[in-house]
Subunit: 441 residues, 2 copies
């Protein structure tokens, strides 16, 4: 007997129902925020990913040469595909573009607990709008997705940070421009390294000043409020007026973002946290992550502004902000809190029939199904008791008992299998009755 | 700028909405018939397909060796995966198992119109039930799927045939047992070949008797009713009693199938058609195809009984009947008839706000969104006229006009952008009002 490949999951109906329940919830939350769904194939030209992430990404990909001699890869992320689609229709698209995708992604990673080689990711992006309101909508939509899944401020937090602020902070520390992105790369890892390791990594970049810079970084990590952020910059010495102006302007945008999000009722979920840098070099402004509180503070989602990526990938100049959420961590988090949703399927009705009136009974089954009632029935001839037992095995909430003598006078019994109550209903009123019960969908 | 790979489709929101609309319809129809959804990864061990279809299938696959030195393939069909999943839990599963899957499949085919290398297929299977009622449910569910998509008996037909009947027919023609499957392979292609080609192909199998057999085949092709089928067998000469008994028993099952389907209201969609053989050797009994009428008589779906396949693939003895429907042909057919469904998204409401009362307006937006109302608003500060214009660009059906003076007395205007009617609503009654309009989902 064959097995599924390592890192690839199988979804039996019970698991699939929860999987689809999560997707249903994601989909509805994003639709509520005015986003539209899109998709593309999971197989793409390999070069699409090299362009964005360089040669090293290839190590993590499922890639091969197809029969037409094309280098292809199973998509590891959605953004390059999005960039291509936006680029191809840039002029025809109403701005801002608010799109989302729920799709499979693939990475060949070393197997460990909670890691899969195929995962489903929700990608949410707002494109063509450089203003703060787009960042607000992006962050708000992330919070709404979490809230509608039943998560509260006790269970998750959005950590907000800003690569622009970090670049300005490094500027006040006299780190030369071309080194700043690399320093950000180190800052991204500081919390996972010992202080000695961090200082060593910084020393490689700015020989002789690593200890000083490490202190600067630590003091930024301690910032917890907008006022604190302002004080931090105010406390920096020997900062040119031109830089002060840019700092003031950026702090103004922060205030705007913060106020808009508070108006939308997001205050309780937000936390300033400059330990968040987002490793990827293409982020350009606000960056944020949704974290699970307590247990292990794992990232449930992450994102930020990436104003130049679409252009870099060959598209038009299209400022953008977006975020992504994976199904594996989120499912685990919801499971832990007893919040796993299920796909809403119609309630099943079991048709119990007698052999002598099977013909009429089958006609009724067909009529109800066409009205949207979910009906099952025994494939074998059996007595009422056995059929009712099968109804329970099918998890039916109702049984439609069609006895010959009752059918002869135009009636059937609708039995509620949970509270065992029973109603005699005229055959001609059955559809109406099931509609009233909310069973005809 | 990169392009998508040949044969791989991109779905912009408008296309995606129709795609998801089709899936929604498929899903709901199958749920109504009591089927449960399952899924698995699109990447599978290559051997899984060789086992069922032999080496030749490899030619049509996207396959490669992964970084762990495993031979893998993008799934070309669902049945082997289904067999594995059933096999792994055979004892725990309630019989009959009624499952469906909506998933991507991949074949490296020569590019031509209407062909894609990645297509989505609906797979529907009933397993663990060898009786005619399972065939009835399978065929009925196929018809219900078509009907709920809006197709009528004018537009599609189910052509019913039977490999068992064909094998019996060949037995009465004294074709030896081991040659019969190969003869069926030729019969499957007769309609696409000239008579000469068919006879030539038969001659290779049964030297000297090809013309005689070709006449037998043609006479079976002419059978159009159950009575006709009975007459056909009655007319065969020199048939042993033992064979006659098996024929009678099979005709009895046909009568049962036919009657049950008629009781379910399927009569108008059914046609006996022994030109249908289904090329694949693993089919064992009733086989059927849904055909588009008129235009080009293309197969919209196909299936049949395959009682030994699960066991052959390493699973338990699990009789099965199932069918599959692809998204490409079905979408084209529905498009032709103006029947393409759309995914039902919530109706969007555009929030029109004044700068001086933006704070309160944003709070209202957030409150409505949390109640399930789909809300969008202008990311830029603009006058009412400009905002209402943007509302139209977003295809909003309603605008929520939040003027400062009205808000001061606790009111807002709900404007229907289609009929331009307008209602003044108390802010505290907005959620209730939108619920009444069916906008809060």
């Amino acid at each position: 007997m064959f097995e599924a490949l390592p890192g690839f999951r199988e979804f039996y109906p019970e698991d699939f129902s929860r999987r689809l329940g999560l997707f249903d919830s994601w989909r509805r939350s994003l639709e509520i925020c005015g986003f539209s769904e899109y998709d593309a194939g999971v197989l793409e030209p390999l070069d699409l990913y090299k362009e964005k992430s360089g040669e090293e990404i290839v190590e993590q990909l499922f890639h091969f040469v197809d029969k037409g001699d094309r280098k292809v890869a199973l998509r590891p992320e959605m953004t390059p595909t999005l960039a291509r689609m936006i680029g191809a229709k840039a002029n025809a698209l109403r701005r801002p573009v608010k799109w989302f995708n729920i799709g499979d992604h693939f990475r060949y990673e070393r197997m460990q607990k909670g890691r899969t080689r195929c995962f489903t990711q929700l990608n949410v992006d707002i494109l063509g709008d450089a203003g703060v309101t787009a960042d607000v909508e992006a962050i708000y939509s992330l919070i709404l997705v979490c809230k509608r899944l039943g998560l509260t401020g006790e269970q998750f937090v959005i950590r907000l940070s800003d690569r622009d602020i970090w670049l300005l902070a490094l500027e006040t520390a006299n780190i030369q421009e071309d080194l700043r992105p690399q320093v950000l790369g180190v800052i991204d890892k500081v919390e996972r390294m010992s202080d000695e390791q961090s200082i060593e990594a910084l020393e490689k970049l700015i020989s002789g000043r690593s200890k000083e810079l490490f202190d600067v970084i630590q003091s930024m990590f301690a910032v917890e409020s907008l006022d604190g952020l302002k004080s931090w910059f105010d406390g920096r010495e020997n900062v040119a007026d031109e830089i002060r102006e840019r700092i003031a302007s950026r702090l103004e945008e922060w205030r705007d973002l913060w106020e808009q999000l508070n108006k939308l009722g997001c205050g309780e979920f937000l936390k300033l946290d400059f330990t968040i840098v987002r490793g990827l070099a293409y982020y350009t402004g606000f960056v944020f992550e949704a974290f699970e509180k307590g247990r292990r503070a794992r990232a449930l989602a992450g994102g930020g502004r990436y104003d130049h990526l679409i252009e870099k990938l060959g598209g038009p100049d299209f400022p953008a902000v977006g975020w992504a959420m994976g199904d594996v961590t989120m499912t685990d988090c919801l499971d832990h809190h007893g919040l796993l949703p299920s796909h809403e399927t119609p309630i099943r009705v079991f048709a119990v029939m007698e052999d002598e009136s099977r013909e009429t009974a089958m006609k009724i089954v067909a009529k109800l199904r066409e009205s949207g009632v979910s009906m099952v029935y025994s494939h074998k001839k059996a007595g009422f008791g056995k059929q009712l037992k099968e109804a329970t095995q099918w998890n039916c909430q109702y049984a439609l008992v069609m006895g010959s003598s009752e059918m002869a006078i135009g009636k059937v019994l609708v039995r509620n299998l949970e509270d065992r109550s029973e109603e005699s209903i005229g055959i001609n009123y059955l559809v109406q009755h099931f509609k009233k019960l909310g069973l005809a969908v």
